[in-house]
């Protein structure tokens, strides 16, 4: 734990900490530190500083707070009893996060989240809406999920073992695996399940739209320690790279896939270096891009041409 220490951040943190401390009156220093993501020393320094603040003629009497033997004590509150209003980004993020959570498996629109969001929306001033209009229309979160998602999420909450059939595009085949789902998440429109994979003995991330079927084996492994969710798209440094020149129409590649480098060329073309998870994946990308890509590596071009000939062959017999 470490807190940012510039003056603005210290004051910002104090202004949320003080109203809460005034509510509870007396609390272990360690709890305050954990709650506000600071070290105990940082909390103590800032509380002692604010205790010295004051305006004449009441110097030292503005905020009655002191720290003693690892406990924080707050006396009669005078100032900073209420938190500062939400900033526009805070209000937006809270509202959008709430609405996104409503789109997650297991959400109950009539439950406490829905009620809390209604109160929040009212407080943030949902003005400009027609009488009786749906006040959620201004910000809509669409996290449409594959059919199998709810089942996997439910398995993750209890640690239920599942037998799944999983499609691997790189090898163009299905494999049967026994997995224990640990966490389900959505990123950039794709849903993933993080699961303990019996086949590799490792915790792996699977794309849910490639889970063909899932049925319980009857085993329940239970839940373990809090799951660490990958922070960004998981890219292995060991994976080989390809260099592609892309036309303006193919710029979506940069948004869709992780890339190492992008360089601007003339006429809106760009050159990118990106990790290649498999030859087949790259070949597929090249086929989809057609004339909008120039491949620097002749070997990759050959693989793409081979694959294109195979697809074309299907047209002659269909």
């Amino acid at each position: 734990m470490s807190g940012p220490r510039n003056a603005e951040d210290r004051l910002r943190r104090l202004l949320v900490m003080l109203p809460w401390l005034m509510e509870v009156g007396e609390v272990p220093l360690a709890d305050v530190a954990r709650r506000y993501d600071l070290t105990e020393a940082q909390v103590q320094t800032d509380l002692e500083l604010v205790a010295m603040c004051g305006l004449p003629p009441f110097v030292d009497e503005m905020v009655d707070v002191f720290v003693d033997e690892g406990m924080v004590y707050v006396g009669v509150p005078r100032l900073f009893t209420r938190p500062l209003r939400l900033t526009a980004p805070e209000g937006f993020t809270l509202l959008a996060a709430g609405r996104a959570a409503m789109e997650l498996p297991g959400a109950d629109p009539a439950g406490p989240l829905g009620r809390g969001l209604d109160k929040l929306a009212a407080a943030l001033g949902e003005r400009g809406l027609e009488e009786g209009a749906d006040d959620t229309a201004g910000v809509v979160i669409d996290l449409a999920r594959p059919a199998m998602t709810d089942e996997l999420a439910e398995a993750a909450t209890v640690g239920r073992e599942l037998s799944i059939s999983y499609y691997t595009p790189a090898r163009d085949e299905f494999t049967d695996r026994v997995v224990v789902p640990r966490h389900v998440f959505v990123e950039s429109g794709n849903w993933y399940v993080l699961a303990d994979d019996g086949r590799s003995g490792e915790r792996r991330t699977f794309r849910i739209d490639r889970v063909e079927s899932a049925r319980p084996t009857g085993g329940v492994v239970g839940v373990d320690d809090p799951v660490v969710v990958p922070d960004r798209f998981f890219v292995d440094a060991e994976v080989p790279r390809a260099v592609l020149r892309l036309a303006p129409a193919a710029r979506w590649v940069v948004e869709q896939y992780p890339v190492d480098e992008v360089a601007e060329l003339s006429d809106g073309w760009i050159e990118v270096r990106l990790p290649v998870s498999s030859e087949r994946w790259l070949a597929k990308l090249l086929i989809r891009l057609g004339p909008d890509v120039v491949v620097v590596d002749p070997a990759a071009r050959r693989v793409a041409a081979d694959l294109a000939r195979r697809v074309l062959a299907r047209y002659s017999d269909t």
Binding site: L14, M17, R85, A100, K119, A123, L129, A144, P146, A156
Partner: protein, 319 residues
Amino acid sequence: MVDRVERLTNLLALLLETTRPLSLIQIVGELPGQYPETEQARRASFERDKAALREIGVPIETEIVGGGPYAGQTVYHIDRRAYELADLELAPDEMRALQIAVAAVRTGSGAGQEAIWKLGGALGDERLAVSAVMPDRPELPVIRNAVSTRSTIEFSYRGATRRLDPWGLLLRGGFWYVIGHDHGRDEQRTFRVDRFDSTPEGIVVGEPGAYERPPSFDPRSAFPSDPKEIGHDAFEGIDALVHVDRLRAAAVERELGAGRVVRRDDDGIVVSVPASNLPALRSWVLGLLEHAVVLEPAAVRDDLMGWLSAVASSDEGAT
């Protein structure tokens, strides 16, 4: 010189407590020894403090004194009602639900956690089975405010200035979109927020109540989820028949829905998909590689075959 946090706290307290707006000279008089001696350094320090307080969301109001011996001077104060967060009267289960929502939806900014702290909560060690990654864009709060006050916005997008009556914001497929009525084109348009050239400060927000949103507007349907349906050429309204083999049939049926399946045979299924956006259709069919073949219309089938032939011959001359 005192610690800057102490000076900021004292300035904040002074402006909250004062019964009348104060000039810089009066502020310095109330906070002896806290600001530099020389006028220029004092003004610079005060401006920096004022900016810092505003940055963390403190609404500092300024007025110019109209008459009397201090006419023309700027005076400052904070309206306590504007400063303090209104009590949302959240029930404990509602507070907890919001905490879980913020813990489950990761944005890459600390704004959600800051909001929870202000509401009197904290993020603990929630054990979450499900989470989402939500892209964070600095333009969003500005656009959302414009949506809720029905204000026209003006911004630069791919080098051109647009005037838009923003009807709503939509997050789909990992991107934020704003949908509304484009004044220049005089029709409904969709813009990707991360492609704005304008900085958040560069978005010009007009007067509130400038337009009416269509009563039945829903961003979800205003913007087709399936890019294959965003029509713009000769195949508008026409569907293509695509054969999908057994290996990928089940996944495609799940993706499109059983309603799109025209017939089934031992080799797989035939699905009907919109051909109005040919590039999108092409990309989708090619993504299935040898597992999908366009049957008709002939023009679309020919297009795919021509495309594939070009790629197939692209290694000629390569070593």
